[in-house]
Symmetry: C2
Subunit: 332 residues, 2 copies
DNA sequence: CGTTAGCACTCGGTACAATCGAGTGCCAGC
DNA sequence: GCTGGCACTCGATTGTACCGAGTGCTAACG
């Protein structure tokens, strides 16, 4: 599409603009990308690049800044996986060496790690509930009319739901229901709970049904998601309203989750501007990657920054972290 | 300390400044607080108030803005609990009527509610772990060398820890350990786990010890805390760096928790500026209140805003929500 | 003696002009 | 096709003037 010189110029403009946040003029380009031509030549090329929609001028007689299309070209040029700088590689290694224990805690820490590496906001989505199989179910009474259904899943996630009863329900009955539930559900994925085996006792059956209903995945229960470093968005934009809006979106976790899922479904790993189709984040870019636990796609991680984000670095960080995270969880 | 007229003038300056964020001049004060005196008189009084440290002038020949001491006087004047406007009262009622199920989920939603009511960031701290007694403990194997300790507490909280073993550990042994743990721990508070009863089987005892160790409350495991509406801080300050810093602090949940705890310990319900002793939040004010479940102090809620926050409204919101939250959790 | 009208003064904010300079587009010549 | 040269554009910066909100002080007033 673009001849090599135009591509080089575009690359120079993008990477310069990522660094400085200032419109880039022809002079800077020749200085930066040492192709042996004069500013005038570069100007001509840049005029073409603007006509084709890769660059814009904020106003006449300023330098150019990349459009979303320009960024897109830039990231498409990046073929090599890109390597993280040594300090950060070490940081990742240290993190996973020290990482211990609690799955949720660990995922939350991972989002912080990724945010520290990139200096943008980071998202880690935990394994989806539906997929994991049930390892154990237990009914625990908390009061005469209230109990907790606790289900332990094979991936280490613990689901719990509160149950309230009309009449008092003793421990024996809870025990009976627990036994029935375990007989039925252990080994099944949470997504497909199937039917209940009758126990013979009507009250116990009722209890079992209630528990299973509570366990069913509700649409409004999003996957576990951990957002780290959202404070870094404060510096990413200079319009306060943009900051406010982006932060607000990061608080709505289900939006974030579905955004990542959508992107992965569509095979996108980098979404620039409106490529993800979600208007309120049109000033952002989003880099995502799935991670795999024991060969199975388990969850995803992502980085959210301004469209003028440091793509090579952020992409490298996402790649490394997703890969290491998967490995770590597989071994665990 | 201050005669009635000075107090009235100070009140007028504070509430006007809260509204407008603009320095308040003598003219506005006479207009606002209709005490029948001239601007000149008010100027004299304001000069005194400035000398005494209640007000400052950002520069000569501007109006005055309150100092932290001024705000402090203002909130100390507020004796009546203050009532929420009807729309918001209704919002609170509706929320607690609809609130259902999951404790954690519910607390997270409560933080959102409080943030919506006040337009500031809100914090909800869940019941402390140590206090609750254990209702049930279970060891669930996730793999040959890995298991989960799951403890259900009387307040509905579920604690879980991952255990890793050197050698393979079968379900029978896990079952034996589970039984031993339940014999020992049910009814005990998580804070004081006490000693283990020997089972006779060395390997099982080892397992029991490991599980109890994992369950012990670690210092770095903060209470559950839910921060809502932190995006609202973006508009609260005009210095980007302040926003950035405050948001960063809100992400460090243990700081937030200990801040609230400190304040309550010292009997403070409103901290203005540096009153809480935490420098990085010196441009903020913090309103906190404990909530009680069945007569026991269970947790706390709070609102974080700029020092020029709407104290009467925020204080009313915190009071109402903490009271309703306690009631709701007691009934549940 | 407290209050007030009057007044000179201060100083941030706005409006306007001048200037600067980074950058452009275009053209003629190499 | 590339480049040096050149006129031009326009945001940013600087300087000046001015306005107005607000002050402190003083002298007069009830």
């Amino acid at each position: 599409m673009l001849d090599e010189r135009k591509a080089a110029i575009l690359r120079a403009v993008v990477s310069e603009y990522i660094d400085t946040a200032q419109p880039v003029g022809s002079g800077h380009v020749v200085h930066e990308a040492g192709l042996g031509v004069s500013p005038a030549t570069v100007r001509n090329e840049m005029a073409v690049l603007e006509r084709e929609g890769y660059l814009v001028q904020p106003h006449t007689s300023a330098g150019r800044i990349p459009t979303d299309k320009g960024y897109r070209f830039f990231v498409d040029q990046i073929t090599a996986p890109g390597t993280l700088d040594p300090g950060k590689r070490q940081q990742v290694r240290d993190f996973f060496r020290a990482a211990h224990g609690e799955l949720e805690r660990m995922l939350a820490d991972t989002s912080r790690l990724l945010s520290n590496l990139t200096n943008y906001a980071a998202v880690v989505v935990g394994p989806p509930h539906e997929a994991a199989t049930i390892r154990s179910v237990q009914l625990v009474g908390l009061g005469p009319r209230i109990a907790l259904v606790v289900a332990v899943l094979s991936n280490g996630v613990v689901e719990k739901r509160t149950l309230e009863f009309k009449e008092e329900t003793g421990d024996e009955r809870l025990g009976a229901a627990t036994a029935a539930l375990n007989r039925n559900l252990v080994g099944r994925p949470l997504g497909t709970l199937g039917t209940v085996l009758e126990t013979g006792d009507a009250a116990t059956d009722e209890l079992v049904r209630a528990a299973m209903n509570a366990l069913r995945v509700h649409d409004d229960e999003p996957d576990h998601v951990f957002v780290g470093g959202s404070s870094r968005m404060a510096r990413a934009f200079d319009a306060v309203d943009t900051v406010r809006e982006v932060l607000g979106i990061l608080e709505e976790q289900y939006v974030v989750v579905s955004l990542l899922r959508d992107m992965l479904d569509r095979g996108l790993s980098v979404a620039i501007g409106v490529e993800h189709g979600y208007q309120p984040l049109s000033e952002c870019a989003l880099i995502v990657a799935p991670y795999e636990v024991e060969g199975e796609r388990a969850g995803s991680i992502g980085v959210l920054g301004p469209t003028r984000m440091n793509y090579p670095e952020a992409m490298a960080a996402v790649a490394v972290v997703s890969q290491r995270l998967g490995k770590h969880l597989s071994e665990g």
